[in-house]
């Protein structure tokens, strides 16, 4: 009896260990009829090997032997896990009531001290939903609508706590130039005032930065969270994520970035197609609005072929899910890129806009955004062209773990 009992326990423990191994650090092989590595060549009839959450081997099936103990997943088309270059998911939740809308603090128009890691909900239903649509990495945080609404960060879409999911804890400062700010605050009431307020704060931050560099520590100013965040911006440790759509204000953002030597990311950028040379010269990066965004307010001149126009001119773009006040509470970048591809963007550039380009802009291209040896094992398997309406996201692998599966 005793033996039997210990035997059962022993089996149970082994079983649990096996299960845990399979769920977390399993060894997985992926066979794809077409594997879009994005950074390198597209492989026909290829194999990807995964171990301990990383990609260990990529190649054609004839040259990559799949070890016996590997669990094999196969499908028609394989891409890297998708990277959403700008979302508010995890801050703006599925219910859309005041208990789950944490993307905009309206007590003051400039709050760079608001950290994303203090506001993100990794267990938000929409984060899980995005994972099921192939999105394995999100750059998310405080939303548009304030001069500086707060910080953004980068998370994987699988994992239950902030420490587990975080890839980068302070990535950009979210700023907005345009009419949406004056809808949320009494002052600034105009775009010109927004910029004046912003410049005033940045000048203060320059002073603070100077004082901090004093060799005599006793002369350092007392800690100021707002200033500390702005110094990070001035030092290029955080990029300026400026949501701006009309052409004149895009130029204003460029001017501001030049004045303070900021690393500028143009966000939304509905009228960017009017300023292709200027944007190129400025070296600003572009995270385009969702293709299917509604043409309200300063978005009225948006176009479905902006991604195509910018890409053709040599400006790499990422396409974002963005912020939606109503529905869909989060957009799905795969669907947004699909409309851009149907409107003239090439298939490869469409894929880049939601993988490699996005990873680059958010500074994570060493870990995510392409299928390469050593990178995180974030992989999506489809039963057809990823952009086609009829195609299913069959299998999603996040950090080497199967996090979604729906095709039989």
């Amino acid at each position: 009896m005793i033996n039997l009992k210990s035997m059962t326990n022993y089996k149970l423990i082994i079983g649990l260990l096996l299960l845990a191994a399979q769920l977390t650090s399993a060894q997985i092989a992926i066979k794809g009829e077409t594997i879009y590595t994005v950074s390198g060549k597209t492989i026909t009839d290829g194999v990807i090997l995964i171990e301990d959450g990383k990609i260990t081997k990529v190649g054609v099936a004839s040259k990559v032997r799949i070890p016996k103990n590997y669990k094999v997943y196969s499908g028609k088309v394989v891409t890297p896990g998708l990277v959403d270059a700008h979302a508010t998911v995890g801050f703006s939740g599925i219910y859309n009531n005041e208990s789950d809308q944490m993307q905009l603090e309206k007590s003051s128009p400039i709050q760079p001290e608001l950290r994303a890691i203090d506001g993100y909900n990794p267990q938000e239903a929409l984060v899980k939903y995005l994972n099921s649509k192939g999105v394995t990495t999100v750059h998310t945080g405080h939303g548009p609508g304030a001069v500086i609404s707060g910080q953004t960060f980068i998370a994987k879409t699988d994992g239950e706590t902030i420490d587990i999911v975080t890839l980068d804890d302070a990535t950009m400062l979210a700023m907005t130039i345009g009419p949406s700010v004056s809808r949320n605050f009494k002052s600034p009431g105009t775009a010109a005032k927004e910029i004046a307020m912003l410049r005033t704060e940045l000048l203060k931050a320059q002073e603070y930065q100077k004082k901090k560099q004093n060799d005599d520590i006793s002369k350092h100013p007392s800690r100021n969270l707002k200033m500390e965040a702005l110094v990070q911006l001035l030092e290029g440790k955080m990029k300026a994520l400026v949501t701006v759509n009309s052409s004149n204000l895009i130029m204003t953002a460029i001017r501001l970035a030049e004045e303070f030597n900021l690393k500028l990311v143009l966000d939304g950028a509905a009228e960017s197609y009017l300023l292709i040379d200027e944007i190129k010269t400025s070296k600003a990066e572009v995270i385009l609005h969702p293709t299917k965004a509604r043409g309200y307010g300063d978005m009225k001149n948006m176009s479905w072929d902006t991604a195509a126009k910018l890409t053709e001119s040599g400006i790499p773009v990422a396409i974002q899910s963005g912020y939606e006040p109503y529905v869909p509470k989060t957009r799905v970048i795969l669907y947004e890129a699909a409309i851009a591809v149907a409107s003239g963007l090439s298939f490869e550039d469409g894929l880049k806009s939601i993988t490699f380009n996005a990873a680059k802009i958010i500074g994570q291209d060493d870990k995510v955004g392409s299928i390469e040896k050593g990178k995180d094992a974030d992989i999506v398997i489809y039963d057809g062209d990823p952009f086609e309406y009829l195609t299913h996201v069959c299998t999603v692998i996040t950090n080497g773990k199967v996090t979604h599966q729906e095709c039989e």
């Binding site: 219910y95 239903a125 509604r294 309200y296 009225k300 001149n301 176009s303 529905v327 869909p328 009829l390």
Partner: protein, 427 residues
């Protein structure tokens, strides 16, 4: 003065100069989805005087016909959008929750630029609705997306003063729950609606009693008149509803008063597909790219379409523009198919099913001899993301052509293409 009259007359005529050809026009060589029969490969569609003269594979093209070679293209009926807010119309205000007397047609702008989105998307018939922020926000308007200056150029009814030109918009769930005089709960919402219909039944009785002695008839009451049209089955109720219990409440009330109802949105249809089919109530679905946005829509799932088809219920699709874009209605059918609906039913959901829900299927919704010549020419399969609407025709008149640069801009957007945004979500 005479000048003005002349000018007005000229305006009227200028619209009607674009008339359907009385010589036959044949579109030859396309894959034709007639909807009411199996698809016709290498088919020909012949139209004349705004009507369909013939459609088939081996049909005689009249000698005097103008022939267009559309080999490699796909032709299907003009799409029917059962629920849209294009045209900058409006419905009831905040003075109350029930506005059966309010007509959207009195505020609709037939020259609204946003109607070009519909033409670019291949939408030829639309049910234009007031919002869902009321239990009953007003009378809807059925239009064709013909180009014109006055509403009569677009309406399907002949005389907006005399005819019934649309349905009635109703809603339950949380959009219409507000501060007084709006209801504060779901049960109160239902009670207010039932009270109103009972009043209308009383009014109807008085009218009937006074049939032979008009002097005894009650005074005219616009609210009651709108409701009696519903009770008599002449005006269809288009009912915004999301959660499964709200859906069944809408059905229950429609059965109690015996009115015709079309369910709209129906996020949780997949939970009660059998009950909906059993009640013999048609459903118009919308697909949003993620669930939620409000509590009652967190279980929204595009598998509803397949579930309803399986249960035997009629399914159509709508844009609810600006909620989804009129240029992407075809996408709804594709999503339905991705989630298990059959292709023929999905294409029917874009056309004939919607036509039936507006009781216009005698004129539109399929490519059949004698029906209106409303059709679209597509570059490829209707359910592919890469397919574009190349031409949109209404009653034999072309209202959109992607070969025309200006029209092409309406299909993609750009600088000053859509100067006025379609606002209004549920106010």
């Amino acid at each position: 003065m005479t000048h003005r009259i002349l000018l007005a007359l000229l305006c009227v005529f200028s619209v009607h100069i674009i008339k359907a050809q009385d010589t036959p026009v044949a579109y030859k060589g396309a894959l034709i989805y007639t909807i009411n029969s199996t698809p016709i490969e290498n088919g020909t569609l012949i139209v004349q005087n705004g009507k369909i003269l013939a459609v088939g594979a081996d049909i005689q093209i009249p000698d005097n016909a103008k022939v267009f070679d559309v080999k490699g293209k796909v032709i299907m009926p003009g799409l029917v959008d059962t629920h849209s807010h294009l045209g900058n119309g409006s419905g009831g205000d905040r003075s109350g929750a029930l506005h059966p007397e309010v007509r959207l047609l009195d505020a609709f702008d037939p020259m609204a630029v946003n109607l070009m989105k519909a033409r670019a998307g291949g939408l030829t018939t639309i049910n234009i609705m007031p919002g869902s922020g009321h239990l009953m926000s007003g009378q809807t308007l059925y239009i064709k997306t013909r180009k014109g200056k006055v509403i009569e150029d677009l309406t399907i009814c002949k005389n907006v003063a005399m005819n019934i030109c649309g349905g009635m918009k109703m809603a339950n769930g949380t959009n219409s729950i507000r501060k007084k005089p709006f209801p504060g709960t779901r049960a109160k919402s239902a009670a207010m609606v039932r009270e109103l219909f009972i009043k209308a039944q009383e009014y109807q009785k008085k009218l009937l009693a006074a049939k032979d002695s008009p002097e005894k008839a009650p005074a005219r009451d616009l609210k009651m008149e709108g409701l009696i049209e519903i009770l008599e089955g002449k005006r269809i109720v288009h009912f915004h509803t999301h959660r499964h219990d709200d859906v069944l409440t809408a059905i229950r009330i429609s059965k109690e008063f015996g009115f015709k109802i079309v369910l709209h949105h129906v996020s949780e249809a997949w939970k009660i597909a059998d009950e909906i089919a059993e009640a013999n109530v048609p459903v118009s679905l919308i697909f949003i790219d993620s669930p939620g946005g409000k509590m009652e829509a967190i279980d929204l799932d595009p598998k509803s379409a397949a579930a309803l088809e399986k249960a035997g219920a009629d399914v159509a699709f709508h844009t609810d523009d600006p909620i989804t874009d009129s240029r992407l209605l075809l996408r709804s059918a594709a999503i339905a198919v991705r989630e298990g609906m059959t292709k023929p039913k999905a294409l029917e959901g874009l056309t004939l099913a919607g036509a039936k829900m507006l009781e216009l299927d005698d004129r539109i919704g399929s490519l059949e001899k004698g029906k209106d010549a409303d059709f679209i020419i597509l570059s490829g399969d209707p359910l592919s993301v890469y397919t574009h609407v190349e031409q949109t025709w209404i009653e034999g008149i072309k209202v959109f052509d992607t070969a025309n640069a200006e029209d092409k801009a309406y299909a993609v957007g750009g600088y000053n293409v859509y100067p006025e945004a379609t606002t209004h979500v549920h106010d």
